[in-house]
């Protein structure tokens, strides 16, 4: 009974989350470029999309930056969280406090200050310029605190002596981390990685200021249209991305169910 109620609740929340996506998908088939005027069914934005090299380039940048930054931030963040957890109470709260600061900083301030930092480094080094690499670094840097914030709660629920016990039994710190700690905090790592990926895909302001000449991601492309009107090709693109993700999720979940079932069969 309770499970039923929760099922309905999850359904309602999903409806809430997907309502705007459905509107956006409907608009991608709208012949007219206005979201308030239905000009009939049309595939014109999809045709335009495939003739647009700019969008393809931005999509590639968005995906690679999001994957790479989520991955690297997850590694850095997880190791850091484990390390922080081993600190004494005082130091720990100081380090966590500093780690949280970027979460509190308005995005625009983060963006401008990272830009200034990168420009300073470039001037000191006397080489390089803003571009893909600085964009990636910026994304990693704003992702790390979110990973730590996701992993820390799991660590707090963990027995503090686990790590030491593993090392007493002859494990190196790396082994202790990989074999003992990581399996325990996996849900935290996964949520951290997912949040990091999401933040990276969604970020506009920090990206705009830390990227360089000719390197755009989708957010920059879309937000820069905010003044002169967003091209509905973007709706078409988003619809395609959305459908791709959905198909992938479906395939993965089907595979998982099959695996579960076969494991069940083996057990019996």
């Amino acid at each position: 009974m309770i499970k039923r109620i929760y099922q309905v609740y999850i359904g309602v929340m999903l409806l809430f989350l997907y309502a705007p996506i459905m509107v956006m998908m409907a608009l991608s088939f709208n012949e007219s470029p206005s979201r308030s005027y239905w000009g009939g069914f049309s595939l014109r934005w999809y045709r335009g999309l495939f003739a647009d090299p700019h969008i393809a380039q931005a999509l590639t940048n968005t995906l690679t930056i999001a994957l790479l930054s989520a991955l690297i931030a997850t590694v850095i963040g997880t190791i850091a969280a484990v390390g922080i957890n081993q600190l004494g109470r005082r130091t720990k709260s100081i380090v966590i406090g500093i780690t949280n600061l970027p979460v509190f900083n308005p995005e625009i301030v983060t963006g401008v200050s990272l830009m200034l930092l990168f420009m300073f480094a470039i001037r000191v080094a006397g080489m390089g310029r803003l571009g893909y690499t600085t964009l990636l670094l910026a994304h990693i840097s704003f992702n790390v605190p979110y990973v730590i914030l996701s992993v820390m709660p799991r660590l707090r629920g963990l027995d503090g002596n686990l790590f030491e016990a593993a090392m007493d039994l002859g494990a190196t710190p790396m082994q202790a981390l990989a074999k003992v700690i990581l399996p325990q905090i996996r849900p935290g790592i996964i949520t951290g990685a997912l949040l990091a990926f999401t933040l990276s895909v969604d970020d506009f302001i920090v990206s705009f200021f830390t990227t360089g000449v000719g390197v755009s991601n989708l957010s920059i492309l879309i937000f820069s249209m905010a003044r002169r009107g967003v091209n509905p090709r973007i709706n078409a693109l988003s619809t395609l991305i959305f459908l791709t993700v959905m198909v992938l999720l479906y395939l993965i979940s089907r595979r998982d169910t099959r695996k579960e079932r076969s494991m069940y069969d083996e057990e019996n």
């Binding site: 499970k3 705007p20 900083n105 849900p187 949520t191 993700v245």
Partner: protein, 290 residues
């Protein structure tokens, strides 16, 4: 000592990518460019935020203070709604559907679509002649007009930040030791007692992460108040964005940002005080089971 090895590289990273940019902000906040282009130290920009428009103007009626309190109020509302909606969601996902992690993805995928497009879509839904009102009148219900109000702003923020509440709570609830709950039940606790005395206290670390990740972006967001609030709201995020983007006064923008961070740190210290109460000195979170 060896076990701390993991933290040192991070400390280095922290100084480079967290402390350094913040020091830059602080630098701008307490300096100004003099008439001859030289940098001078001054608290002018920090003081500017609190300055009255006329002598004796009550503190909470001063322009920037009004904006700040309104931002915090909106953010508190957003965070509360996120918690009320998000906790049961995280609980349900963890307890009943923990084996189907695909569901978790379903709650994130909407956020992979561009933020601006989603916000525009909300306008299409909430407008007077929008999708929602069309549906309402279709089933004979009275129409509503909430676009460009605080309701729409909170709705937009909850929509965007809800997963940041759900995920950390989910990750602590997911592998919560069922034997603890069973033990409590064996000892005669009923469902409500088990929840409030066992489950809720154990999820506190996740809740704190969630509150942090929702509250902060809500204070400083400016695109949602612009679009769904229709400019009826000016939040601290708008102020800072305008200083950096329209006025070009980085000093004042940084000063506001620094004030905001200081304020948040104070609040965090406060939260930490509450957080520490129910736990024994350095035991794990289970310490609350008394």
């Amino acid at each position: 000592m060896l076990k701390r090895i993991f933290v040192y590289p991070y400390i280095l990273w922290m100084f480079l990518f967290i402390a350094a940019p913040l020091l830059i902000v602080l630098w701008f906040a307490i300096t100004d460019t003099g008439a001859d282009g030289q940098t001078v130290f001054t608290f002018y920009h920090v003081a500017r935020f609190f300055r009255p428009a006329f002598a004796g103007e009550p503190f909470f009626q001063r322009l920037y203070i009004v904006v700040l309190t309104r931002s915090i109020w909106i953010a508190v509302l957003t965070t509360m709604v996120c918690f009320v909606l998000g906790y049961p969601l995280a609980y349900a996902l963890a307890k009943f559907f923990g084996h189907r992690s695909i569901l978790l993805f379903l709650f994130l995928v909407p956020l992979w679509m561009n933020f601006l497009l989603r916000t525009y879509a909300w306008m299409t839904i909430l407008e007077q002649n929008g999708v929602l009102n069309a549906l309402l009148s279709l089933v004979g219900l009275p129409t509503i007009d909430i676009l460009f109000t605080d309701t729409a702003v909170v709705l937009g923020m909850v929509y965007n930040f809800l997963p940041f509440m759900v995920f950390p709570i989910y990750s602590v609830l997911k592998d919560m030791d069922n034997s603890v709950i069973e033990a409590a039940q064996d000892l005669g606790a009923n469902r409500v007692q088990v929840f409030f005395r066992v489950v809720l206290p154990m999820s506190v670390p996740g809740i704190i992460s969630g509150l942090t990740m929702v509250f902060m972006p809500s204070v400083t967001s400016f695109i949602i108040p612009n679009l769904l609030g229709g400019g009826q709201f000016i939040l601290v995020g708008n102020l800072i964005e305008q200083q950096f983007m329209r006025v070009g006064d980085w000093h004042f923008g940084s000063a506001m940002s620094a004030i905001l961070i200081a304020l948040i740190l104070l609040m965090m210290g406060f939260i930490k005080l509450i957080d520490r109460q129910p736990r024994n000195k350095d035991g794990p979170a289970e310490g609350v089971l008394y």
